[in-house]
């Protein structure tokens, strides 16, 4: 059994006890039920063929403490902006998302920006992103992505957007923003890297130099524990993070390395939803009492990882690389008066979900065997993206 399988089995054993599900009052809605049915083989596929799927995932959160007041919020992330003179394509898509969020009716109560506003952490890129986001007049909250952080270790980002972790209560829901990027191990000092080299390695998803940088960290875990301690155990909690709070695919940091500790802190709470970026794809997972929803990027879609795609995920369509608006977008989220949260993936071109295996992003990746790169492990070739 390899390391990933061993960890996955440990995760299953520890968190997926008998009858363990997210939230005592969680109900699977018709649409979610339909997508689960697809996993069950030919009968499921037939069922899927008969019912049109809508690009939303619906679920109910706990009723304790009374129904929440209806409200909407929006998520935008992973814009990966370069300076305008290098790439206007990503700018155009970020502008489009921002305009559409501002035009939401009824208006969203707030926008969460989920990180990776910039591509290489350049102040020019962050300033550009900040200017674009000024179009949104509603409340905005921000968490950082690794691309925003590692040129100057967060100086510019924090000067624009403030503390990278925070919490607030809104209409019966406790919202928490986590910083999952700033606690990466120091891979630069011993190798005497320049800030640009440090950033370059961090910006390479499949690179080996930056290592397992995604994590919450002991201090922030303590802060999270304390932050939640005053909140009733069965009332809704929504945690925003750049990286998923479970182990999906560590080689691309599609996880946080201390996911076990995170789950330990969250274990007493029965209605926790994690909404995350970084993976640039449709994702849904439930582990123990925690449910996770992965958001789209506005820049480009990542392929599904060769292994570890959660079984509960109904994969998105294979993106057309010739169509820059395909496979990307943002999310509109609604909490209605019945405490029901709906996540609507706003993907600009094709249908969100694939209708046949041949069109599915994870149906398509089953016939490939992949191997990590090597050039960045050798000193003579050291320093891509200088």
């Amino acid at each position: 059994m390899d390391e990933i399988q061993r960890e996955r089995s440990e995760l299953q054993k520890t968190l997926q006890g008998k009858g363990e599900r997210p939230g005592g009052s969680l109900q699977i809605t018709r649409r979610t039920f339909l997508h689960k049915s697809v996993m069950t083989g030919a009968a499921g596929v037939a069922t899927y063929g008969w019912f049109p799927l809508i690009g939303t995932l619906d679920f109910l959160v706990g009723q304790a403490g009374g129904p929440a007041t209806a409200f909407k919020f929006a998520w935008i992330s992973d814009n990966h902006l370069y300076p305008k003179e290098v790439n206007t394509r990503f700018v155009d898509k970020a502008v489009r998302a921002v305009k559409e969020v501002q035009a939401m009716k009824p208006a969203a109560d707030f926008l969460i920006h989920g990180g990776d506003l910039a591509q290489l952490g350049d102040p020019v890129e962050l300033d550009l992103g900040n200017e674009i986001l000024k179009e949104v007049k509603i409340r905005k909250v921000f968490i950082p992505g690794e691309h925003d952080w590692y040129l100057d270790l967060g100086q510019k980002w924090t000067s624009l957007f403030g503390q990278p972790n925070w919490t607030f209560d809104h209409k019966g829901v406790r919202f928490v923003g986590l910083d999952t990027v700033s606690r990466g191990p120091d891979y630069w000092t011993a190798k005497k890297m320049s800030p640009k080299e440090r950033m370059g390695h961090m910006a390479t998803l499949d690179g080996s130099v930056a290592g397992s940088w995604a994590g919450v960290g002991r201090d922030q875990l303590q802060w999270l524990n304390q932050t939640l301690s005053s909140w009733p155990k069965d009332k809704p909690i929504v945690i925003f993070s750049h990286n998923p709070l479970y182990e999906y695919y560590p080689p691309w940091n599609f996880w946080v390395r201390d996911w076990r500790e995170v789950h330990e802190v969250l274990r007493p709470y029965s209605n926790v939803t994690n909404i995350h970026g970084h993976t640039h794809q449709v994702l849904y997972n439930e582990i123990g009492k925690l449910r996770s929803i992965g958001m789209l990027a506005t820049s480009w879609p990542w392929p599904y990882a060769p292994e570890g795609v959660p079984a509960l995920t109904k994969c998105m369509v294979r993106a057309d690389p010739g169509d820059f608006f395909d496979g990307v977008g943002y999310s509109r989220l609604t909490m209605n008066a019945a405490s029901k949260i709906e996540n609507e993936y706003v993907m600009w071109r094709k249908d969100t979900f694939a209708e046949a295996a041949v069109d599915s992003g994870c149906g398509d990746n089953v016939n490939q065997v992949l191997h990590p790169r090597i050039a960045d492990q050798e000193w003579t070739y050291y320093g891509a993206y200088k």
Binding site: V86, R89, L205, P303, Y385
Partner: protein, 148 residues
């Protein structure tokens, strides 16, 4: 005229025979470990160069006189670990190109369209290195030409 044609045929037969003999001789002796290591080194050097080009290394691109991107995008940004390249599925009808295509055709399409770079010669050192890296990173995948 007839004499010239006979002469050309005879010359062709002679060259062909030499190649066959030489090729047969090349495999007559057992390979030494040093030879095998040298063969692998030649291949892996190309893999490394391809890896760097694939990950947007400017110095390598400059050395090979190619401009694979003008958008800041590198191949690996959409294809981490060489995923979603499916080199083992070529040749095939490639939807984006609208015709039957080889892996090299598709590499050039990606350079020209999403990356907005400059198409490279299909037998150039840069193309061979990119091909080496893409195949190497997908080694073990089942050969399945024509699969969409």
């Amino acid at each position: 005229m007839k004499t010239i044609r006979i002469g050309l045929i005879a010359a062709g037969v002679l060259v062909g025979s030499l190649l066959i003999v030489s090729s047969a001789r090349a495999h007559k002796d057992k390979h030494t470990p040093q030879q095998l290591k040298a063969f692998e080194e030649v291949f892996m050097e190309q893999v490394r160069i391809g890896d760097l080009l694939f990950h947007g290394d400017d110095a390598t691109a400059k050395k090979l006189n190619v401009q694979l991107s003008r958008t800041g995008m590198a191949c690996a940004m959409c294809h981490p670990f060489g995923s979603d390249n499916h080199p083992h599925e070529f040749p095939k009808f490639q939807e984006q190109i609208g015709q039957f295509a080889t892996l090299r055709d598709m590499i050039n399409w990606c350079i020209e369209k999403p990356n907005e770079g400059v198409k490279i010669d299909s037998d150039s050192p840069a193309m061979k290195a990119l091909e080496a890296y893409i195949y190497w990173s997908n080694r073990g995948s089942k050969l399945d030409p024509g699969r969409h």
